[in-house]
């Protein structure tokens, strides 16, 4: 079943260059990884799916309606989003930030604690959010997102923008397993990321966005994240290495 449908979507910011150009794709339940060079439009595509911005041309649909048409609780029940910056403009504690997930939803007890434990931030619950490292903040934001998803309790669209960018390997693997679990629970998980090995490990499907904001390639993650396609996409050589578990990992060659 299609969770997000994009049809000939074109978007540019005011007085800016075109960011996305005629993107047409269907995103089903499961995990879809978004890959592409810096500035290709991955974050913009996530914001279009959230409905924060609307395309100049084309349409985006979630549940037969443009995401921008959903308001308040209606949206909170359909789309969960985690951005790159994780900024909070108030001196909230970690627990306060995670609890914000239930702002428009019922305050189901136990879920906040469960989400914090899953993201290994329970011991930070009374710390000031502003005092955390970037990696710790990412885990807190993931706990907030998980709280929202588990409170809703039915399949929804989950959007995460580089959720492992600042994490150490152990916590990166932890976050991957959480996203994988959401995917297995039939949520439509869309993750923008640069780590191609992780993307290949995590994604059922992959969407590659090219430099001009065009749809470069889409399909099964193992097929899209392959050496020749990635070399074309990023303009750098890759070495394909077999890992201990029999999977193939791509390592960028020095320029």
């Amino acid at each position: 079943m299609t969770a997000i449908r994009l049809n000939r979507v074109t978007f540019s910011y005011p007085k800016g260059e075109m960011v996305l150009n005629q993107i047409t794709t269907d995103v089903p339940a499961g995990c879809t990884v978004l890959i592409g060079p810096n500035g290709a439009g991955k974050s913009t595509l996530l914001r279009l799916a959230l409905g924060s911005i609307e395309p100049q041309e084309g349409t985006v649909f979630i549940d037969q309606r443009p995401p921008a048409s959903y308001r308040g609780k209606e949206l909170a029940k359909r789309v969960a989003y985690m951005g790159q910056t994780g900024e909070v403009a108030a001196a909230f504690t970690v627990l306060d930030v995670v609890r914000l997930a239930q702002h428009a939803l019922p305050n189901v007890k136990g879920i906040v604690q469960e989400a914090m434990e899953a993201c290994e931030v329970s011991d930070l619950r009374d710390r000031a959010y502003a005092s955390l490292s970037v990696g710790q903040r990412q885990r807190v934001m993931l706990a907030r997102l998980l709280t929202q998803v588990w409170t809703v309790g039915r399949p929804m669209v989950v959007l995460a923008d580089e959720p492992t960018a600042a994490l150490d390997p152990r916590h990166a693997m932890r976050v991957e397993s959480i996203l994988r679990r959401l995917s297995d629970e039939r949520h439509a998980v869309v993750v923008a990321m640069h780590d191609l090995t992780a993307a290949r490990r995590l994604g059922d499907r992959a969407i590659a966005i090219g430099n001009e904001g065009t749809l470069f390639r889409e399909g099964l993650a193992d097929e899209v994240i392959s050496r020749p396609i990635m070399e074309d996409l990023f303009g750098v050589g890759f070495e394909s290495v077999e890992t201990a578990d029999g999977r193939r990992s791509l390592l960028a060659k020095p320029l």
Binding site: Y13, P14, K15, G16, R47, L50, G51, S52, R71, G72, K73, E74, L75, A76, V79, A80, Y81, M82, G83, T85, E87, V88, A89, A90, A91, F92, T93, D96, V97, L100, A101, H103, A104, L105, A128, A130, S131, M141, R144, Q148, L159
Partner: protein, 326 residues
């Protein structure tokens, strides 16, 4: 527990400031026997409390919705806009009738000036369709200076250089001379605004996340921004109507309140209103004690002298300024 203690401390501060205004003057300590002067002090205390509460709540709302701890009606040029509105309206009246009525400012002029300044600052601070916080502050300060200069220019075209307007409408002053119905009418608006803000409290909490995150958890920031800017503009306009442009209350009081009760907006809004009332009553009390050769000091001077150092101290201690510690 911390929140209850903070609210109680601020209530005590309000009572102490009220006693200070009503019971202390240049003649010493004690309630005045002269009924007229006693009532005048009572009226000034009430006006100061209402104006302080209005400016503080307005500042808290602007800081929350703009996610900027330095935002306030004064810094963003809203009070300067209202001041300019008063002077321009006075000039139009002066040209039409040949008379100046400094005790009766144009409420329409104030509203046009304050909302005009707010709209201009918000419009000029957008980059790629998004409010840019550093630009917002710089544009706000520039608009404040520009509108202040324009007000001086218009004022210089009035009779006697608009001297009669100078004390109150350019620097801010509380004389308690307005009708009680006007004073308590504004008080009612402040009360209703506080109730609306308490209702919106959890949405204001959600708005401290980025726009996108806030949207995803169900906070409708579009509607919230309209309501918040409307309330902030109305409160500032009414405060200027009663007392002229007074700075620092809207900047310092939300921070002081945050320091005492934490960042959650439901409790914070109550604490901010109490802090604003206490601080402006206290400033008004000092003004009554300290006499200069030229008469009473404008209360705006007192608030700046008190608020400036307090703000610097709080900034250095990281006292609840956005992104700081609890």
């Amino acid at each position: 527990m911390r929140r209850v203690a903070g609210i109680l401390a601020l209530l005590l501060a309000c009572v102490a400031s009220w006693l200070f205004v009503v019971g202390v003057g240049e003649d010493g300590i004690g309630f005045l026997n002269d009924e007229f002067f006693h009532d005048l002090r009572m009226d000034r205390a009430a006006t100061a409390a209402i104006v302080g509460a209005a400016l503080a709540l307005s500042g808290m709302l602007l800081q929350a919705i703009l996610r900027n701890p330095l935002a306030s009606p004064f810094v963003l040029g809203v009070t300067s806009g209202a001041g300019l509105g008063i002077v321009v309206a006075a000039y139009i009246g002066y040209r039409a009738t040949g008379e100046l009525s400094p005790g009766n400012p144009s409420i329409a002029g104030i509203f046009v000036g304050s909302f005009g300044a707010l709209g201009l600052v918000l419009m000029l601070s957008r980059r790629r369709g998004v409010l840019d916080p550093p630009t917002l502050l710089l544009v706000g300060v520039m608009i404040s200076i520009l509108f202040g200069a324009m007000a001086s220019l218009v004022q210089s075209m009035l009779k006697d250089g608009g001297f009669e307007l100078q004390g109150r409408w350019m620097l801010g002053n509380i004389d308690g001379g307005e009708d009680w119905i006007v004073r308590w009418g504004v008080g009612g608006v402040v009360g209703i605004s506080l109730i609306v803000v308490i209702i919106l409290g959890t949405t204001l909490d959600a708005a401290t996340l980025g726009d996108d995150e806030a949207r995803s958890i169900g906070a409708d920031l579009g509607l919230l921004r309209i309501v918040v800017f409307l309330i902030a503009g109305v409160l500032t306009s009414l405060a200027v109507w009663l007392a002229g442009p007074i700075g620092f209350i809207g900047l310092v009081c939300p921070h002081a309140a945050r320091w005492l009760v934490g960042p959650k907006h439901r409790v914070l809004s109550i604490a901010t209103v109490l802090a604003g009332a206490a601080l402006l009553m206290f400033a008004e009390g000092i003004e009554d004690v300290v006499k200069t050769d030229s008469g009473r000091l404008p209360v705006g001077v007192m608030t700046a002298l008190i608020g400036g150092p307090v703000f610097v101290i709080m900034l250095r201690r990281g006292a609840g300024v956005g992104g700081g510690s609890t």
